[in-house]
Each structure stands twice: as structure tokens, then as C-alpha cells.
């Protein structure tokens, strides 16, 4: 039995056990069911990693099961591109599976503090309910299986299974907080609108190709008319783009991710959104075999818009999980900048540059999965131990939750794209690809000369603002002194949660120091995209070197130099500067002791940037001044509230929602509850069909 087969068997077995075992185990204690659910999720993840690694090693595998699906057959076909995403999803599932076993316990552990998120006694029943516990491994299994699908029907069934399982998980805590229900509605609507777009696109494609297996569509796509190809691409790009959280279809992300249990947020944000990218790569580069340049300029533009808008919203956000959700939009935006640029150069026939950009995009996908898992799990640890998502109320957690603080810090380092973090490597590759677009072989044209500097500017501004955002998230959340009573009594989370985070942190570290180990297998992924080819864009051992471009950088030596240098300096200085370090009160302007409330908050920290980007963000300010009863010139208290709402959502969605409501109201008129009228509808309907059949035949 090959690696792929054993991996898939493990995934299927664990998923089946989750469906059967968890609901039946009503007698078992909640703790043991949690263990079971987490363990099954880990097994699914392990299976995904096994199958994915097998496929990345160069094996390909396919199976056809006739009559499993109505009117069609189930086809699974695994190539290196599927393998990459299966490995990615599997790895995230392992870390979150381990983590999820500790999540409800830590909640019991400090139940005596009054947390605003679990005031009702059955709130824990949300996460601990059997449906939710069965849905977790099922969600992971569906995500592992989506890239393995080999025909349209199988793909859509698995895609929908993934959407439904994740919806159940998002709604886990809906009894405790009303916002969860709202988030669930938004998520359900967006994911199904996306499904409709994908369905239409793939149906048009399969119809024109005359077959619905991916293998058949791949060969038939050459003969399709350009109009059909473009229609298919636009439809699937809209559908997959909404899953990937690209602007303007990102609106579900900042709602669903904060409200879902944190390990579900991690699975969704680090694994599920990547399947949107998988879809675009599979259909755009593989099945359609690349396309005209304007497709990819569109992808590039949407990517740049998403990156900038995501990072600006994340920069202004004070809810830690909302911040991370917008950061997902930002990172997927960066990835799509790479994909779009790769497509542009592939269309122009510049394979070396296209492959470099594609490697950068795919590597950034892997990096994003690693650090976003870590960050969402870290945010979940903070939420579980303090009940807080609001950065303005956190602070000082580094003393109370040292392991979580260090691990979250590592994730933030990776996410901010600074050396020696892992995000730096892929952002560097992306920049190299964009920058050498003008000096590459052949004369570049005007579109490239205009698009590339703007893309570099967008990447650079995103990188700069991303750094500011993560300094805010880590610095305000974990450093200094607690800003609220909840933060002051935080306790470290249980060992299993720390282990899940540590696993993600170790992957971040490996990706940061030895990206080349992974780049070798990513090159096999390129082979599946015919317009990009099988170049080897990146080589070298210690230094990353690029072929055709004389740019090099060594992540290992930079990391060694930074840490080694800092240690050396610290040791030398301690030896020379004789006096020991003393701890003292922070300077209080010569008199008062500074209270923790005088510290900078996350809102204050982001204020300069919010003000600079006022035109985009349009924050709403609300200042209430209570005057003293005796004089208007004396102020009793001032309350200041700032809210940054999503402008794109406010502009774009209300008309759409109004139209949908109007449509629903019209439909309601038809449906007045009278049985006679329904019978009349049936009769009229039948007559119309009969007449239509009679006329056409």
C-alpha cells in the first residue's frame, strides 16, 4: 500500500469513526469525548500529511468509484498540487487537534472568574456538544479531501461538506453570544454564494468540455472558445475568491473568525482559505492551462486591493481575533499578488520569472498557514484564560502566560515579515520576482512597467503596516502592565494547548531557517501548471540564490548573526558595565505613580496610522463629556469611543441585502399559506411544462 493510500484510508477511517462514534458516545464524559474528537482530528491530519507527502514525493494516484454519487461517479485523483494542500491542511489539523483537547478544560479550570463569554451554564455545552465534536474531525477530513477530488461532482460535494461542517463549528457557541448567530448567517450566505459561482463556472466548463472529470477537462480546455474560458475563470475566481477572503468578498471573515471557537478559527483561517487558492490554481493554471494576461492583471489588482485593505483594517482593529482575520485577507492578498504576477509572466512566456513568483506565492501560503495557526491558537489561549478578545483590556500577559507569550511572539515575528521570521523569506522572494520583472529577458511592455512598481509599492506598504499591526498585537497584548482585572488574573493554559501551539511554532522555525528544504518539493507542484513549467527558480544551500537573477539572501546566517550578535553584545556589556540591573517604578513625571490606565492602548497605538489613512478607514468618533454640575468649565468625565467599520461592506452590501429582502418579500406574496392556491400553482406549473414540451417537440 502506497503512502497516499494509507493516508487516505486513515482520513476516511477517522472521519467515519467521528460520524459514528461521537454521537453514540452519549454516556461518555464530556472530557473523554473531547479527547476522542481531538485525537480523531489529529489522525485525519496525519492521514492528510501522509498522503500529501506521498504525492509531493512524486507519486500520483487516482481511483474511480462508480455509482457512489447520484448521476455521477466519485473520482479521486492526487497529484503534487493536491499533495501540497493536503499536507498543509493535515499539518494544521494535527496542531489544532492536539490543542482542542485542552480547550474546554482550561475553561473549567478558572470558572470562578466572571467571564462575559460564558455566563450561561450551558455555554461550554456549545464546544462540548456531540455535534460540534463530530463536526471537527469531519471538517478536517473534508478539507483534506477537497484537493483530492478528481471530478466536478466529487469536488462540489466535498466542498459543500467542508462548508457545512465549518458552519456547524462556527455556530458552536451561539447560545452564549447572539453575535455568533449573526456571524453564522453571514458565513452561510457568503459561502453558498461562492458555491453557486463555483458550481456555475464548473458546470459551464464541464458542459463545454463534454466531460466532468478533471483529466478530461484538462485536455478539452484547449478547444474551448476564449469567451467560455474567460466566463469560467471569472465565475470560479469569484467563488474561490470569496473562500479565500479577497476584497470585496471578505465580509464573512472578520465576523466568522472571531466568533468561532479559536481552534476552529485556526483551521478556517490557516487551512480552509487556502483551498480558495487551490481552486484558482487548479482551474486557472491546471485545467484551463493558463489564460490571457487580463485575467492575471485582475487577480493581481484584487490581490493588491485585498492586501492593502486587509492590513489597514487589521491595523485599526482592537479585537485580537478580528485583527487576525483581516490579516488573513492581507496575506491571501499578498499570495494572489504573486499568483497574478506569475500568471502575467506565464502568459508572456517568461517561465523563469513566473515560476519564481509562483514559488514565492506558494511558499507564502505555507508560511501563512504556519504562523496563522499559531496566532489564532495563541489568541484562543488568551481568550480561554482571560475571556478577552479586546486588546485595549489586555496587557502584562507575558508574566502570567509566559509560554503562550513566547509562542505568540514567534508567530507575530513570522507574520510581520521581519527577519528572522518565516514570512520574511517568502515576502523577499515575492519582491525579488516583482522587482526583476523589468530587467528580465525581453523588453517589458507598458502594462508591466505600470503594474509592477505599483505592486511593489502595495507589497511594501502592506509589509510596513503589517509590522505596525503585529507590534500592536504583541506589544499591547502581552507586554507592560495589565489594563483590566481579567488580564491581571490570567493563568497559563494546559499543556495540550501549549503543545499544539509549540508544534505550529516549530514549523514556523523550520520554515524560517530552512526554506530550501521545502522549495525542492514545491518545484514539483509547478510541474502541474503547464504554462509555468518545471524551472528551478531558487537554489543554494545556506544562501537563497535565484536563477537568472543575481539576488541572494541567507535566512540562516541572518538569524545566526542577529541572535548571536545580540547574545555576544549582552555578555560583553554585562562584563564591562559592572553594576547589576535594578528594577524601579516607571517614571511618573516626578510625582504620581502611573496607573495601568495611563498606558497606551491598542486604539491609541493605531491612532496615528488611522488618522493618516482617515480617507480609507473613516473611523467614527464618539466623545461624551460630562461637565461638573457647578461649572461648564470643569469636566467630570470624558468617554471616548472609536469604531472602525468596514467601509467596503457598508457601501456594497446594503443594496444587495435590500434587493435580496425585496425578492424574499415578493416570494412571500406567492406563499400565503392557502392550500388551494398551492394546488393551483401545481396545476399551472404542470400545464406550462406540458405546453412547453408540446411546442418544442
Amino acid at each position: 500500500m502506497s503512502l497516499i493510500e494509507s493516508g487516505l484510508l486513515l482520513v476516511a477511517g477517522a472521519a467515519a469513526l467521528a460520524c459514528v462514534g461521537t454521537p453514540l458516545s452519549s454516556r461518555a464524559s464530556q472530557a473523554s469525548r473531547t479527547m476522542l474528537s481531538g485525537a480523531l482530528t489529529c489522525l485525519v491530519g496525519l492521514g492528510g500529511v501522509l498522503a500529501g507527502v506521498g504525492a509531493l514525493a512524486g507519486d500520483s494516484w487516482s481511483v474511480t468509484v462508480p455509482r457512489l454519487l447520484p448521476l455521477s461517479q466519485a473520482v479521486l485523483a492526487i497529484d503534487p498540487l493536491s499533495g501540497l494542500f493536503m499536507t498543509l491542511v493535515g499539518a494544521v489539523a494535527i496542531a489544532t487537534g492536539i490543542y482542542s483537547t485542552g480547550y474546554p478544560h482550561s475553561h473549567d479550570h478558572d470558572h470562578d472568574h466572571n467571564h462575559n463569554h460564558d455566563q450561561t451554564p450551558d455555554a461550554a455545552g456549545g464546544i462540548g456538544s456531540r455535534t460540534v465534536q463530530a463536526a471537527l474531525p469531519l471538517f478536517a477530513a473534508a478539507m483534506v479531501a477537497v484537493p483530492a477530488a478528481g471530478n466536478v461532482t466529487t469536488f462540489l460535494v466535498l466542498w459543500e461538506l467542508m462548508a457545512l461542517a465549518s458552519l456547524v463549528l462556527v455556530l458552536a457557541e451561539h447560545r452564549a453570544r447572539p453575535e455568533v448567530g449573526q456571524a453564522g448567517v453571514w458565513y452561510a450566505a457568503m459561502t453558498h454564494a461562492g458555491l453557486v459561482a463555483i458550481l456555475l463556472g464548473l458546470v459551464v466548463f464541464a458542459n463545454a468540455a463534454g466531460t466532468e472529470t478533471f483529466a478530461g477537462m484538462r485536455t478539452a480546455s484547449v478547444g474551448l472558445s476564449p469567451a467560455t474560458r474567460s466566463l469560467v475563470f471569472l465565475l470560479v475566481f469569484a467563488g474561490f475568491g470569496s473562500k479565500a477572503g479577497l476584497v470585496p468578498l471578505h465580509v464573512w471573515l472578520p465576523r466568522a473568525h472571531p466568533e468561532a471557537p479559536s481552534y476552529v478559527s485556526a483551521l478556517m483561517s490557516a487551512a480552509m482559505v487556502n483551498l480558495g487558492l487551490y481552486g484558482v490554481l487548479r482551474v486557472g493554471f491546471d485545467l484551463l492551462g493558463g489564460g490571457p494576461r487580463w485575467w492575471w492583471i485582475l487577480v493581481l489588482a484584487v490581490g493588491a486591493l485585498s492586501a492593502l485593505y486587509g492590513v489597514l483594517q487589521a491595523g485599526a482593529a482592537t479585537d485580537l481575533k478580528r485583527l487576525l482575520a483581516y490579516s488573513t485577507t492581507e496575506n491571501l492578498g499578498l499570495i494572489f499578488i504573486g499568483v497574478g504576477a506569475a500568471g502575467m509572466f506565464a502568459a508572456a512566456g517568461d517561465a523563469p520569472l513566473a515560476s519564481l513568483l509562483m514559488i514565492a506565492a506558494v511558499l507564502h501560503t505555507v508560511n501563512h498557514a504556519a504562523f496563522k495557526t499559531l496566532l489564532f491558537l495563541g489568541a484562543g489561549a488568551v481568550l480561554r484564560s482571560t475571556g478577552l478578545r479586546d486588546l485595549d483590556k489586555m496587557g502584562g500577559l507575558a508574566h502570567r502566560m509566559p509560554t503562550t507569550a513566547v509562542l505568540f511572539g514567534l508567530g507575530a515575528l513570522g507574520a510581520s515579515g521581519l527577519p528572522p521570521g518565516n514570512g520574511f523569506v517568502s515576502e523577499w522572494l515575492l519582491l525579488q520576482g516583482l522587482i526583476h520583472s523589468l530587467s528580465g529577458a525581453g523588453a517589458p511592455d507598458v502594462a508591466v512597467a505600470i503594474a509592477m512598481p505599483l505592486a511593489v509599492g502595495a507589497v511594501a506598504l502592506t509589509a510596513g503596516l503589517g509590522v505596525a499591526m503585529f507590534v500592536k498585537a504583541f506589544g499591547v497584548g502581552f507586554l507592560a502592565r495589565p489594563r483590566s482585572a481579567e488580564a491581571a488574573v490570567a493563568t497559563e493554559v494546559p499543556r495540550s494547548m501549549r503543545a499544539g501551539m509549540a508544534l505550529a511554532a516549530v514549523s514556523c522555525g523550520i520554515l524560517a531557517l530552512a526554506p530550501l528544504a521545502l522549495v525542492r518539493s514545491l518545484e514539483r507542484v509547478l510541474v502541474t501548471m503547464p504554462s509555468i513549467g518545471d524551472e528551478r527558480p531558487v537554489h543554494g544551500a545556506v544562501e537563497l540564490q535565484l536563477s537568472g537573477i543575481t539576488g541572494s539572501m541567507s535566512p540562516v546566517l541572518i538569524a545566526l548573526g542577529l541572535t548571536g550578535g545580540a547574545l555576544l553584545i549582552a555578555v560583553l556589556v554585562r562584563r564591562w558595565g559592572g553594576q547589576p540591573r535594578r528594577t524601579a517604578l516607571v517614571w511618573g513625571c516626578g510625582g504620581t505613580r502611573l496607573s495601568p490606565r495611563m498606558q497606551y492602548t491598542a486604539t491609541a497605538y493605531a491612532e496615528p496610522l488611522t488618522r493618516v489613512f482617515d480617507d480609507v478607514l473613516r473611523p467614527e468618533h464618539d466623545i461624551n463629556i460630562t461637565h461638573h454640575v457647578e461649572s461648564r468649565y470643569l469636566v467630570e468625565s470624558v468617554t471616548y469611543r472609536q469604531r472602525v467599520s468596514d467601509r467596503i461592506e457598508n457601501r456594497l452590501y446594503p443594496p444587495l441585502l435590500a434587493a435580496a429582502l425585496w425578492w424574499a418579500a415578493m416570494a412571500r406574496r406567492l406563499q400565503n399559506g392557502s392550500v388551494h392556491r398551492y394546488l393551483a400553482y401545481g396545476l399551472v406549473g404542470l400545464l406550462v411544462v406540458l405546453i412547453a414540451v408540446g411546442v418544442t417537440s
Binding site: 512597467a449 506589544g475 545580540a566 493605531a606
Partner: protein, 318 residues
């Protein structure tokens, strides 16, 4: 070959020592220029080193409730400056470490140093630290696009972003230095150097009024040897930025072969270049006041525009 490599290694060592030892003297020179122009005598070229010696002997103090970030940040910031001093071609392009960090990695290392101190500022739990930290990251975030786009303009004509290739190309083809692309990039990068080094009109290095400070507010809580490291780090930052600007736009004199004569010439030329640039910067500051904080983004947006113009002209006017 062996002697060549050993000369190259010696070049790196000399370069690092020169930047470490010379950076405080550069600061002193700039203060001296300013003092003379304002009609004062000035403290002399040795004063920053005397200050550092005094600070090393004094007691370091950490604010109550701060973490290891506060104590480690000065060392990390200094270490990233040393790394840049080792990797960048200041006196020689033959450095074996050149491939470790190209222009973009160097830009990121500069950012690492700012961010280390920004986190330390937040870690103090003081309102001033948070304020300085917030302003530091604002300026850094807005300077980043200019740095990268101007770097884009420079690397387009060379086909490489490695600093040594950029410098060597400038020496081989001096005509490109006067091309519109390079001149526009020079203007853009000069503005960023001023912003990143915390000079007027972005930040006032000699202010002691808390509400106007950026860098000084961030490091307000440091004392003793920690403050000495911070001061040395920010002096090196200034030297590194001026050195990079000088060698990218005035690449002459940088040793391209490894040998004692070329190295000695490289040292002399580098010292002269940085000293002249520093003196010009200091002299220009005499005629300037610090801008309002919220006018700084306008300045940086202007520099970004110069950067984009540089890239476009490198394409359209090439």
C-alpha cells in the same frame, strides 16, 4: 586566492570596527557643525564616546513589570546594525558576507532595530514609551514603500539587488548615476534616510520635550549601560544610512579588489563621504524646524512619489 580571501575578511572586520568606532564621532561632528553655525563652541569630537563611557559605569534600571524584551532590545538593535555593517559594501565590495543580505534584507534589518526598540517602549508601561513606540512604527511603516520602490529603481538597471553589484555597477558605468532614475531615487532615499535616522524635520534628536519626541520618547526609560547600547545603536544607524546612501549614489572609492592599498583607500573615502554627508545634513538642519507629526506622512508620501517616478523613468527614459 587564500591571501585574497583573508584580505576580504580583514575588510569586513575593518568595516565593522570603523562603523562602530566612527559612528559616535559622526554624531559629534554633526553636533559640532550645528554648534559652530549657531555660534557656539561645541563639545568636541570626543564627547559621545565620553558619554558612552560614563553611561557604561552607571546603574541600569528596568521599569517594574517589564519583561526581557526591555533588556534585550538594545542588544538586538545594535546587533542588527553590526550585521548591516558587516554585510554592506562600505569600504569593499569583496566582502564574503555580501550574499547574506541584499538591499531588501538590509532594509528589513533596519526595521528589526526600530521594532525592537518600539516593543521595548511599549514594554515599559509608560505613556511616553507607548507614544514614542506608536510614532516610531508609523514612520517606519510609511517609509517602507519608499525604500523598496527606490530600491526597485536602483536594481532595475543592474538586474540585481545585491549591494555589491549595485556599487560595482555604479563604478563601471558612472553615466547611470546622473540618469533621471538615479537622481529621483536619490531624492526619495535621502528623505527616507532623514526619517529613519530620526533627524529634522521628522524627529528632533536633541529634544527633551516629551510630547514632540519620537525616538527619545521610546527610549525614555533606559539608563546606564542599556542606554549606552541604545545610543551607540542609533549613532550606528545614522552612519549606516548615510554610508548606504553615499555608496549607492557616489560609489567611487569603494574597493573592488581585495588588497591593502584598495582597502586603505576605501576606508579614507568612506570616512570622507560619510563626514561630508553628515556635515551637510547637520548644516541643513540649522535652517529647519521640526514638523508637526501629521505632516510627516505628507513628506513620506512625497518621497514615495519620487520613488515611483524613479522606477517609471528607469523604464521609459532608459
Amino acid at each position: 586566492m587564500n591571501t585574497v580571501t583573508s584580505w576580504a575578511v580583514l575588510g569586513v572586520v575593518v568595516q565593522v570596527l570603523l562603523v562602530v568606532a566612527g559612528a559616535p564621532v559622526l554624531v559629534a561632528l554633526m553636533r559640532q557643525v550645528r554648534a559652530r553655525l549657531e555660534g557656539r563652541v561645541g563639545a568636541g569630537l570626543g564627547q559621545p564616546w565620553r558619554d558612552l563611557r560614563k553611561l557604561m559605569r552607571k546603574e541600569p534600571i528596568a521599569p517594574d513589570g517589564s519583561t526581557i524584551i526591555f533588556t534585550a532590545a538594545p542588544a538586538v538593535a545594535l546587533s542588527s546594525m553590526v550585521l548591516i555593517a558587516a554585510a554592506a559594501p562600505f569600504i569593499t565590495t569583496t566582502s564574503p558576507l555580501d550574499g547574506v543580505a541584499d538591499l531588501y534584507a538590509v532594509v528589513s534589518l533596519l526595521l528589526v532595530a526600530s521594532i525592537a526598540l518600539a516593543l521595548a517602549g511599549l514594554d515599559t508601561g509608560s505613556a511616553f514609551g507607548g507614544m514614542g513606540s506608536s510614532r516610531t512604527v508609523t514612520v517606519a511603516a510609511l517609509a517602507e514603500p519608499t525604500l523598496l520602490v527606490a530600491g526597485f529603481a536602483l536594481s532595475v538597471r543592474v538586474g540585481s539587488s545585491n549591494l555589491a553589484s549595485l556599487v560595482e555597477h555604479g563604478q563601471r558605468a558612472p553615466g547611470t548615476i546622473l540618469s533621471p532614475a538615479t537622481l529621483l531615487a536619490a531624492v526619495a532615499l535621502w528623505i527616507v534616510v532623514v526619517a529613519e535616522a530620526g533627524r529634522l524635520p521628522v524627529d528632533n534628536p536633541s529634544t527633551h520635550l516629551e510630547l514632540t519626541m519620537i525616538h527619545e520618547a521610546t527610549i525614555l526609560e533606559y539608563a546606564g549601560r542599556d542606554l549606552a547600547l541604545v545610543e551607540l545603536g542609533s549613532a550606528m544607524r545614522l552612519a549606516v544610512l548615510l554610508g548606504l546612501w553615499g555608496n549607492l549614489f557616489l560609489p567611487w572609492g569603494v574597493a573592488t579588489t581585495a588588497g591593502p592599498g584598495a582597502l586603505a583607500l576605501g576606508v579614507v573615502v568612506f570616512v570622507v563621504k560619510v563626514a561630508v554627508l553628515g556635515a551637510v545634513l547637520a548644516a541643513s538642519e540649522v535652517f529647519m524646524a521640526k514638523w508637526r507629526l501629521f505632516r510627516v506622512p505628507e513628506l513620506l508620501a512625497g518621497s514615495f512619489l519620487f520613488g515611483v517616478l524613479a522606477v517609471s523613468s528607469s523604464f521609459f527614459l532608459a
